[in-house]
């Protein structure tokens, strides 16, 4: 069933009896060509593009809980392609382009909203670094704009420029950046994949891999064995737990990242603001909640919750630039498990086990990457060659010394 304004009106007048399920609850079959482990944004997108772009069939997505229950359902909804390094920027720009056409492609309104993202500059050295970044973005075909303090204050008159500890000296903007209604991304991909015959199997936890002489034959699950020609792992924060069943150790640590939302407020923030010096970034949802976050808690964790010091640190950053926030109330805080990689960049690659593929290490950048990650992973699964924008996301880059370290923090995941 296609969604449309007319359909909405028709159903409204006929008591909404015509709406069917957004996706079927499929029962697992004995085997598939492709089994994608993880019903998050990336897994569902992978299944969708496998079916749509690569004309593959017999695809299943296995989800241990409810689809979209991982980071796609608990992030701060930002999309952008303001990366510095050649290994990253083309990929994220590809992703941003996919976002731009996503809703028509999926026939689902995920509220892709390009109201812009702004990174504040506080020192000359920072400006040098942001100019280099902005140039790298433009050389990769993305948009970037260097703003003066006056231009920024004109757009955000309530920014603290009077008694700021770190005075604002300008900013790097990407006007095509913005936000997307996060849950809708999972539901939109699920619905579109389902319509192309993908089996979405919830409450089906993968407990092991069946591997014989170096080849993966399928997965053991809480609902029995499921055979597969190709198995694609796509479980973000749970990557190490899952791949340990295949005897793999990963260049990944799992960390908790907290995020926050305020009570609903009339619109004040048009776009996304990032205050690096204060470890704070913020946007305002269409419902009016200020959605904000900051650094990860910084210790290995699989508990989807954090602690007070980071909550306070983030709010300090917020008050430092938005002193009007004092009387806005924090409504809810939550945590997600980030698959923090050793250089802060992801992995989309084959494993040493034939038929077993891996997608992970997204740190806290996974949401904006959802379409490109799904597309590139589908490309790898279908063709056994990396997508042109994802050639650098290899396991062996650490052994070869070809790290993609945007922040220059080295092999310590909690610093990325």
């Amino acid at each position: 069933m296609r969604y449309s304004g007319f359909k909405v009106i028709k159903e409204a007048l006929t008591g909404h009896r015509g709406w069917g399920p957004a996706w079927r609850d499929a029962a697992p079959k004995a085997s598939y060509d492709y089994v994608i482990i993880g019903g998050g944004g990336h897994g569902l997108a992978t299944a969708y593009y496998l079916a749509k772009e690569f004309k593959q069939a017999r695809i299943a997505v296995l989800e241990k809980g409810w689809i979209g229950g991982g980071n796609v359902g608990r992030n701060t909804t930002i999309i952008r392609s303001n990366y510095l390094l050649d290994g990253n920027e083309p990929f994220y720009e590809f992703s941003l382009k996919l976002w731009e056409g996503l809703e028509q492609d999926l026939n689902y309104n995920a509220m892709v909203s390009q109201r812009g993202i702004l990174n504040l500059i506080h020192t000359d050295a920072q400006r040098d670094a942001f100019i280099r970044r902005g140039n790298a973005m433009m050389l990769n075909g993305a948009d970037a704009d260097l703003l003066t303090t006056a231009q920024i204050v004109a757009r955000y008159p309530f920014l603290n420029v009077n008694d700021a500890r770190f005075p604002i000296k300008g900013g790097l903007a990407q006007h095509r950046g913005g936000t997307v209604r996060h849950d809708a991304v999972a539901w939109g991909y699920a619905r579109a994949a389902d319509q192309r015959g993908v089996d979405i199997i919830q409450n089906c936890e993968v407990t092991g891999f069946r591997i014989e002489n170096g080849t993966c034959l399928g997965v053991e699950t809480s609902r029995g064995f499921i055979g597969a020609n190709k198995v694609g792992a796509c479980v973000a924060g749970s990557s190490s737990r899952l791949m340990s069943h295949a005897g793999m150790r990963l260049p990944i640590e799992s960390h908790v990242l907290q995020a926050f939302v305020s009570e609903g407020l009339k619109p004040v923030l048009p776009g996304v603001i990032t205050f690096g010096a204060g470890h704070f970034y913020c946007s305002q949802s269409d419902k009016g909640g200020l959605v904000f976050g900051g650094d990860i808690d910084g210790y290995n964790s699989y508990a989807q919750r954090g602690n007070l010091p980071v909550v306070e640190d983030v709010c300090e950053g917020g008050m430092a630039i938005f002193p009007m926030l004092g009387r806005a109330r924090l409504l809810r805080m939550w945590g997600g498990i980030m698959d923090m990689s050793m250089d802060g960049s992801p992995i989309i690659d084959r494993t040493h086990i034939a038929g077993l593929y891996f997608n992970g290490g997204w740190c806290y950048g996974g949401f904006k990457a959802t379409p490109a990650s799904g597309f590139a992973y589908a490309h790898l699964l279908a063709t056994d060659t990396p997508h042109p924008t994802a050639t650098a996301y290899r396991f062996d880059r650490f052994a070869l010394g070809r790290m993609i370290d945007e922040k220059g923090m080295g092999n310590q995941p909690n610093l990325h």
Binding site: W19, Q104, Y108, N109, L139, D145, D183, E263
Partner: protein
């Protein structure tokens, strides 16, 4: 207006009458009122509008679970959006505005949404607004955003201050109702260090809302006396107006104390609120329970309230929403409500009890087995339609309706560490279950024990067992006799056949929305919540979640526990962001570090720049200089011509001592230090274990077993941490001791041809500064200005004949003045970080812009420094092939072919004639400046195989800043490449 609905009695202070304003009306109330109770007393039921349909709404509750009666409190910069009228304490002159309505609360244009509601069913927006694509951002979204949101921010800086604090206790008791008070008495009299926190201004919990007797006293009197008794004890801290908002790891709780919210403005110097971090050995949750509604047609009109709230308004605040009230119940509380209202002289039209076997009424009509099938009244309830057991409908006039579907224990805090509540079939509610936060026990109504007697005994018993656990002897207090009525309830969640029945009143989620979610396969409780927005409003679903689960269970053919609950998250109630920030805001966001010469530099009118937490002089403008470049050029030229002085105290200094000090430096630096003679300094490059350059600096050997290591300003802390890691974790038995001395010494660089002459005038006579006596890279301990101990290093960042002289910090101010005075005959200049930067670029020295965390020794042109004769951190991984490719980036110098052109840092480099895109990127400019010595711009850059491309002309491009022209690759050593000046 008169207080037409003010009743007799209550716990308000009638001796004082205070004024407040709601929208444009001034009204009267009494101390002890909340905004909601005062408005009700003044005959106001309509207090707000709902989020989506802008339906008229009045208070549903009398507490922090309130979904409807939310207002903008106060004006101007102090405006607080979305404030619950039910918890806002009334003060004289209080002002409040209704919100989310236009033009007025009684006439709201957007209430048109209500008429169009069938088009706005759950999730409708996911299905439309997609054509044409461009319209989303241009038309649809702006429209939606304008309509969205509730209250509005003032857009001004919050004028109030906030504190943070830290408390420690043996036992934290959350909630000062009967259970909490009994627990506190027991623990306190047994000698524990107790904190008793309650969100209300008045201890007692439901005791203040009910007519229960506690022995000889009224419940509220007993609570007040008990709280007083506790407050008087030295080992107890009673904290009212304090909400425990979250249970964090290891017995740490977050709590918000509202110090001044009940006052017009906070007293001078005092905070508005304090965020407390409470460290507790044990905790008792006595947070009580929240009443839940029954869902029926048009159940959201102003005047329709929780039955318990009606009792609270009548008994505590002597206020009622109307003089004619009906009650809709599935349990005996409905009848208690009727009796309390009657006792206050309010007419009870009827009690509609869903139970066929409902108890007889005592002075009021009971409609047993009846339900409410509709209501009317545009801006407030006027009639209800009742359908009795035989299906006969009749209409009853009433201005208010009390609804009760039973009570839900407040389990929220038990779930903050992912514990899941379990279903208790006896009371038909979720009770604490799963793994509770470490050290937490639950008592009273929060644990599903609903009688006052059970609350008292469970509180006392649990406290006693904790006392015993902590090894103290238990002293049991005398507790009064209290009611012990059993729960009499027959589950009844919603009236069948309703077309528009509200589950989540603030977010306008109806029973039909929940059924639609199920129809579209959003059946997981998390999907239900996210698709319909059930429970995501500012009340976090405190009154709506269970009914929502029940309806979903019914349509899904499951039991309520099978449907389960969503995750409870902190904070327990929405909390001001300012409180989480405390005093760390504005200029006090982070501490400021000042150099020893800061006060002197201020006198000179220096311009300062942030470097980490430090403020450093960036340049020293002189009269007549209109552009910073004039000042910087002058400082550079004068330093190279004669002599200049710069405060370099901010560089990290780490004292390294011990028999193995040299071996230790060999480990942390990639180059060798073992053979460095005493009295000499050496440049050192530190790698991270991954082979990337981490930091650079110098190490001066003051004695066989004593070095002073310097780090860059930015990395001082991380390098020290790293060195301690190597010392304690990798080399535990090296005899080496580390301590930071960054702040112990005021250090000044004295640079320029006349540096020696100048210093000679300051050091004590016996110090030999001659080139032989104190050659380049020498170091030593000397005395200056008459026996003051100092350290002297002959090192040079500027490339000039230069020394760094260090004196005890307290003398730094005097020292800079003395040096400037001694240098007057040489026209000495102070120079700032800009001139420092220019001179180091002229010399091709790498700094932060080059050591950016991705560059190797090879990139920096120091590949040969990485010794393979010894083990050192990072040496092995620096040998990976990807870090040693022939086309690796190399540090080079650049100058514009047309000397008039700038060379901006951050620009990229392209081979001439090649396309200008990322695929053809050859490198980038790291540092750039105008060289006053050369008379044109110069830059340092990383260039692919740069070492083999000297003289090549490249295309420099900076599309971001609109620069594109040719530059020539040259040696990075622009000035004095042979280094004769610094050895002079």
């Amino acid at each position: 207006m008169t207080q037409e609905n003010r009743l007799q009695g209550g716990l308000i202070d009638r001796s004082r009458t205070i004024s407040f304003r709601f929208d444009d009306k001034w009204m009267k109330g009494h101390p002890g009122d909340t905004l909601a109770s005062a408005l009700l007393a003044n005959g106001v039921r309509l207090m707000g509008r709902s989020f989506k349909y802008h339906r008229p709404r009045g208070p549903l509750s009398a507490g922090s679970e309130e979904p409807n009666a939310i207002v903008e409190l106060r004006d101007g910069a102090r405006r607080e959006p979305n404030t619950r009228a039910t918890t806002a304490e009334l003060f004289d002159g209080l002002t409040a505005q209704s919100q989310n309505r236009w033009p007025s609360l009684t006439f709201d244009a957007l209430s048109i949404n209500d008429r169009l509601s069938s088009f706005f069913a759950a999730g409708f927006y996911y299905k439309t607004f997609m054509w044409p694509a461009a319209f989303w951002e241009k038309l649809y979204e702006p429209m939606i955003r304008r309509a969205a949101g509730l209250g509005s921010l003032s857009l001004q800086a919050d004028p109030d201050s906030y504190d943070k604090g830290y408390l420690h206790c043996d036992l934290l008791i959350i909630g000062a109702g009967p259970a909490g008070l009994a627990a506190a008495l027991t623990a306190a009299e047994s000698g524990l260090n107790v904190i008793l926190a309650d969100e209300d201004s008045r201890p007692g919990g439901r005791l203040n809302a009910e007519t229960f007797a506690m022995g000889q006293h009224s419940g509220s009197d007993w609570a007040a006396e008990t709280a007083e008794r506790l407050s008087a004890m030295p080992n107890v801290r009673v904290m009212t107006r304090t909400t425990v908002l979250g249970a964090f790891d290891h017995g740490i709780y977050g709590a918000l104390e509202r110090v001044s919210d009940h006052l017009p403005v906070p007293p001078e110097g005092k905070p508005r609120q304090i965020l407390w971090r409470i460290y507790s050995t044990r905790a008792i949750l006595a947070a009580g329970a929240t009443e839940r509604p029954i869902v029926f047609e048009n159940n959201d009109r102003p005047g329709i309230m929780m039955a318990g709230a009606l009792r609270a308004y009548a008994n505590r605040w002597a206020a009622t929403p109307a003089q004619e009230i009906a009650v809709f119940t599935n349990n005996d509380d409905g009848h208690r409500t009727a009796q309390d209202l009657l006792a206050k002289g309010v007419t009870v039209t009827a009690v509609i009890d869903t139970r066929p076997d409902a108890p007889k009424g005592n002075g009021y009509e009971v409609i047993a087995g009846g339900t409410i099938t509709n209501t009317s009244g545009r801006l407030g309830l006027s009639k209800i339609e009742v359908t009795d057991a035989r299906g006969t409908r009749r209409s009853l006039n009433c201005g208010a309706l009390g609804v009760t579907g039973g009570w839900n224990p407040n389990v929220s805090l038990t779930c903050h560490q992912r514990g899941r509540p379990t279903w208790n079939a006896d009371i038909h509610a979720f009770v604490p279950g799963g793994t509770l936060p470490q050290g937490m026990t639950v008592v009273g109504a929060a644990d599903g024990l609903f009688s006052t007697h059970a609350a008292l005994t469970s509180g006392a018993d649990v406290a006693a067992s904790i006392v015993a656990d902590l090894g103290r002897t238990v002293t049991r207090p005398d507790l009064p006799q209290a009611e012990d009525t059993p729960v009499a309830l027959t589950p009844f969640w919603h009236v069948q056949g309703a077309k528009r029945a509200w589950v989540d009143q603030q977010n306008d989620v109806t029973a039909k929305d929940i059924k639609l979610a199920h129809q579209e396969n959003f059946t997981s409780v998390e999907h239900l919540k996210r698709y319909t927005t059930l429970g995501m409003a500012t009340d976090q679903g405190k009154t709506s979640n269970t009914a929502g689960m029940a309806i979903m269970a019914e349509v899904a053919g499951k039991s309520i526990p099978e449907v389960g609950t969503t995750m409870f998250r902190p904070p327990y109630t929405p909390t001001a962001i300012g409180a989480f920030a405390g005093r760390s805001r504005g200029a006090d966001f982070r501490p400021t570090r000042k150099t020893p010469s800061h006060f002197w530099a201020e006198e000179q009118g220096a311009v300062f720049v942030e470097v980490g937490m430090w403020l450093r002089a960036q340049w020293f403008p002189r009269a007549g200089e209109t552009h910073w470049r004039q000042s910087v050029d002058r400082e550079v030229l004068q330093t190279r011509r004669s002599v200049g002085i710069c405060d370099v105290t901010t560089l990290g200094k780490i004292d390294v001592q011990g028999a193995d000090a040299a071996a230790f430096l060999n480990m942390i630096y990639c180059n060798a230090f073992a053979k460095l003679p005493v009295g000499r300094t050496r440049y050192g490059l530190m790698l991270r274990e991954d082979g990337i350059a981490m930091d650079d600096g110098t190490a001066a050997r003051l004695a066989e077993d004593h070095f002073v290591v310097t780090t860059t300003t930015a990395n001082a802390v991380t390098v020290y941490r790293h060195m301690e890691f190597v010392r304690q974790c990798l080399c535990p038995d090296m005899d080496v001791q580390l301590i930071s001395t960054t702040e112990a010494w005021a250090q000044f660089s004295v640079a320029g041809p006349n540096a020696r002459k100048l210093l000679q005038k300051v050091v004590d006579p016996e110090v030999d500064l001659s080139n032989d006596g104190f050659p380049f890279m020498a170091c030593g301990e000397i005395t200056v200005c008459g026996s003051l101990r100092a350290r002297l290093f002959r090192i040079s960042f500027s490339g000039e004949l230069a020394y760094e002289i260090a004196v005890p910090t307290r003398y730094g101010d005097a020292m800079i003045r003395r040096l400037m005075e001694a240098g007057r005959e040489f026209d000495v200049v102070p120079y700032g970080t800009e001139a420092l930067g220019v001179m180091r670029i002229e010399k091709g020295h790498a700094a932060g812009n080059e050591l950016n965390g991705t560059t190797t020794a090879l990139n920096l042109g120091m590949g040969k420094m990485v010794s393979d004769k010894k083990d050192s951190i990072g040496a092995v991984l620096s040998r990976r092939e990807g870090l040693n490719t022939p086309d690796a980036l190399r540090l080079v110098g650049l100058r514009p072919v047309d000397r008039a052109n700038p060379v901006p840092a951050g620009a990229h480099l392209m081979t001439r004639g090649s396309p200008v895109d990322a695929a053809h990127d050859q490198g980038y400019v790291t540092s750039a400046c105008y060289s006053p010595n050369l008379g044109h711009a110069i830059a340092l850059a990383f260039l692919k195989s740069g070492d083999t491309r000297m003289g090549e002309v490249l295309r420099l491009v900076s599309p971001l800043t609109g620069v594109e022209h040719d530059v020539e690759v040259v040696s990075a050593h622009f000035v004095d490449p042979e280094g004769e000046r610094l050895r002079a």
